[in-house]
Symmetry: C2
Subunit: 208 residues, 2 copies
């Protein structure tokens, strides 16, 4: 991992602890952005890159746990490493239930922190790729006309063109036309391909 392909955010109200974290992480070769409060972090325009967040649990204003909830609410899925001076078990449980990758108590070993960060970045790198793929998929799906989405939904459930035609009250010919355009717009190379796309987009049926 080079410094430019991922970024580590640090949110900690204690300036000395924040600065030492910043120094440590930067020395390990990562790009770091440090903030003194949750609000500052939320205001920061985050680039679309693999990232992770090192977050102090106790802070004035929004606490670490509240920030975690807020990010979940906003759909921001950045992996979080919590640090705390005086944490308790319920707090830990809540953080971990919320999907935190690690929960470290101060003082922690530097190696431990760096290992946790590496793991978090690794995890988000995968999620990041999936986000890019999903965004592309949704972009293509958004190009479909309403009718085409209906046809796609029916086709990927395995219905024959004539069955789709009956279901949508149109001629088989029309369905073929729509279907062809669906394949084009979705850039699907085969029906199997289209079915897999539909699965990822959760269209067509029971949302499994």
């Amino acid at each position: 991992m080079s410094a430019t392909d991922h970024v580590v955010y640090v949110v900690d109200d204690d300036s000395s602890s924040r600065q030492s974290l910043e120094f440590l992480i930067r020395a390990s070769g990562s790009t770091v952005h440090a903030f003194a409060s949750a609000k500052e972090f939320l205001r920061f325009p985050r680039p679309e890159l693999p990232a992770c967040l090192v977050l102090d649990v106790r802070m004035p204003g929004l606490t670490g746990l509240q920030l975690q909830e807020e990010l979940a609410r906003l759909g921001v899925r950045v992996p979080i490493i919590f640090i705390t001076g005086h944490g308790d078990i319920p707090m830990t449980v809540q953080a971990m239930k919320g999907g935190a990758v690690e929960f470290l108590t101060k003082p922690f070993r530097e190696a431990e922190m760096l290992r946790a960060i590496a793991q978090a970045i690794e995890r988000d790198w995968i999620a990041h790729c999936e986000r890019l793929e999903m965004a592309d998929l949704r972009r293509r799906y958004a190009r479909l006309t309403p009718r085409e989405t209906e046809v796609m939904a029916s086709v990927v459930t395995g219905l024959l063109n004539k069955q789709v035609a009956a279901e949508l009250g149109a001629a088989e010919k029309t369905i073929k036309a729509h279907r062809g355009r669906v394949m084009q717009k979705m850039e699907a190379t085969s029906l199997a391909d289209l079915v897999r796309m539909a699965e990822k987009l959760r269209v067509g049926a029971s949302g499994n």
Copy 2:
């Protein structure tokens, strides 16, 4: 949830705590099996039912955390609720990382325990359905001959029969024959259906 459609396991070396747990959970309407040690629990022939495990962290012999690891190693994915008298944060983190649904400190409120159990059973109920479905899918897949699995793998990647034929070095006619048998044995009603089965079985490609 009635008493017979799920089961709660309790593993705790302290007999008084174990018995009160057993009483509490039984009173809530669940079937309970209690054990004084991890080994006893592992020996117990568990029925294929939605279940959860209430587990004391500290125990002589295998500890709760070690049992969690052992179960993961064995592929037993039963949701675990940990209880502990004197736990610490690293212990909590390890347990939660291992997929525990809850980590309660003694003394805990009874309502809290019952809520955790209900949630764990709920979670395992879904996983249980998926296990049944996967088992059925694998049963069907196991009926395929080696050649048929190859054909299926190629077909679900979206290849045409003639392309599959070229890839496997056979006549298109032969592929059609295999393909027909694949559809029959897999009980697929359409290609879309077969593709979805292949996805669940993770056959055919990059294992996404």
